[in-house]
Amino acid sequence: MALLYTDEQKDFLKMVKEFADETLTPEVVKECDEKGECPEELFKPAFDMGLHMLEIPEKFGGAGLSYATTAMIFEKLASYDPGYAITLVSTFVALRSVMIAGTDEQVQHFADIIAPGKFAAFALSESNAGTDAGSVQATATREGDDYILNGDKTFITNGSLADVFVGIFRTSDDGNKGLSAFIVEKSRGGIAAGKHEDKMGLRLSNTTDVTFDHVKVPAANRIGDEGHGLKVALNSLNLSRAFVATLAVGIMQRALDESVKYAKLRKQFNRPIIKFEAVQEMLADMATQTEASRLMVNNTMKMMDEGSLVRKEGAMTKTFVTDAVQKATSDAVQIFGGYGVSKDYPVEKLMRDCKVFQIFEGTNQIQRVTIANELNREYSD
């Protein structure tokens, strides 16, 4: 692997491997994938290890790791099951979005809820507000010292698991400037999750609609100023894009591992298929793309550690890596031949799991729009 890991990082990777070998056995992963279920008890050991708060500063109860180190750990975890990994990533990204624009009290309050082992979710998308996030229709109506929240959110990761949400709601008709962000505790009542989305891949990850029905939250739960909700959301998405990419690197590495092992074992024409140039080419490309992706994630993470908003780099990383993983997993299936499409072999799942990575956290089409807009700005004078 191209990254030079510190002794500490090597130690952490050993820890997460030991953890995942035990928790995410092939049998467990297969069962969750088949049933499309996210068993909460499967996360108990992850919470005990603090995997849901790795990059959160120690003063808020996290481990205080850098983004770069956290990304390495999550790459490893995602190579076992990216759905498991994203459940934890979504939890700390929700807390991160409070950190970006909230007060220390709000962050502490949110962190205190999840630290003992609870899930969090980030609720922005609606049935008519996907790529066009500014068209959110769910409302937050001010009533004295409170807001009353109403509306439906769609495709919410951890929707039926979360004990606390960061939600984006409309506080005025002023388009993009009419949105505000709120911390919404499940315990407020009036929050109901729909059924777990029956997805082609990433099936362990819990994805549901969430309905907010007259949910009363104190004004103190508003993150940042009224009207700044979209900015909170977009800044948080900037950070989470590189995390989505690190999970995709994990899937790619898994595709490579499985493919090389298989290509050495499988014989045709009395030779292991790894001896055939056409197979070698697929493997070499897969390995090269994996390395490049890992380096790109690492660099973006380091920039985030330095405080950069990575508007362009986050978008570039997410797009490059999540496009690359499509070809890598498809080639893995190709190398396995007919066995590749069989559910008794591990690679068809990788192909199903990785598709959504081009869609969520902003589709790769809209990422390219962002990259081009940034270029336009950079070259403006």
Partner: protein, 266 residues
């Protein structure tokens, strides 16, 4: 319950030991790691402390690097206090486990009152396993060896220990010294947070410059004894492969049966 766990940093071979041209056994080694059975001892202590405001003190005697590694690994697992034991009394016989046990007993006395003193059943690098017996003997405490199950009931501990003929169960009133096997529990994984905190945590030091737990004559004699050591030779397994191929010889099945009968396998 408050426990004291004596732990050791051990250096383990990472390759198969081989004889070099000088006739010395050599193998590549790891950096110091926490002795595996000591992890079980720490886990047993943590389980006694969990949810009861109990404490787990860990203490280690050995080279500076090995001691620090072991203590920080123990803090990462959740130990509440970590102590380096220093002593010049053992220079000559640092591998004399009975003498080490006396020094550790002296350290235990200095460190406070504990309900249980735990150790692993043996250290990977000095597997004689006398240390815990010597600690118990020096402190005049009951001692249970190779414990592979432990439960608390008030100030009583019920235990299961292993011996050749099976299991032995019993109860003992605390305080007691207990050495545990690797079967007693499954050590927890450290959390990332405690690991980060453990990296910077202060380590205490206790210095043992005189022995009070046993009388001076006994100590003088014990500490002058040559270290007891045991060398384990792994007998070379003689292997011989004979292949009987049915295709070459239609008698091969009966030849195979014959061969197995001669060797007493059938």
């Amino acid at each position: 319950m408050n426990s004291l766990v004596f732990i050791k940093g051990v250096i383990v071979p990472t390759t198969k030991p081989e004889l070099d041209d000088q006739g010395q056994l050599t193998a590549e080694t790891s950096g110091a790691i926490l002795n595996p059975a000591d992890k079980n001892a720490i886990e047993a202590a943590l389980q006694l402390a969990d949810g009861q405001n109990g404490t787990v003190t860990v203490a280690s005697y050995g080279s500076a690097d090995a001691t620090e590694k072991a203590l920080r690994a123990a803090l990462a697992l959740g130990a509440t206090r970590a102590v380096t034991v220093n002593s010049d009394l053992l220079k000559a016989g640092a591998d004399n486990n009975s003498a080490v046990g006396v020094v550790l007993a002296e350290a235990a006395k200095k460190l406070g009152d504990f309900d249980v003193i735990f150790t692993g059943d043996q250290a990977l690098d000095t597997p004689q396993g006398y240390v815990s017996a010597s600690i118990a003997n020096s402190l005049g405490l009951p001692y249970f060896d190779d414990v592979n199950a432990l439960n608390v009931d008030g100030d009583q501990l019920s235990y299961v220990t292993l011996w050749e003929k099976g299991e032995l169960t019993g109860k003992v009133q605390t305080p007691a010294v207990i050495s545990v096997t690797e079967d007693i529990n499954k050590p927890r994984l450290p959390s990332f947070k405690t690991k980060m905190v453990a990296k910077r945590a202060e380590l205490e030091t206790v210095t043992i410059d005189s022995i009070t737990v046993i009388d001076q004559d006994a100590w003088n004699q014990l500490s002058s004894e040559a270290p007891t050591s045991r060398l384990a030779f792994i007998p070379e397994q003689k292997k011989q492969a004979v292949i009987y191929k049915l295709a070459d010889d239609d008698q091969s099945v009966s030849k195979l049966v014959n061969q197995l009968q001669t060797q007493g396998i059938l």
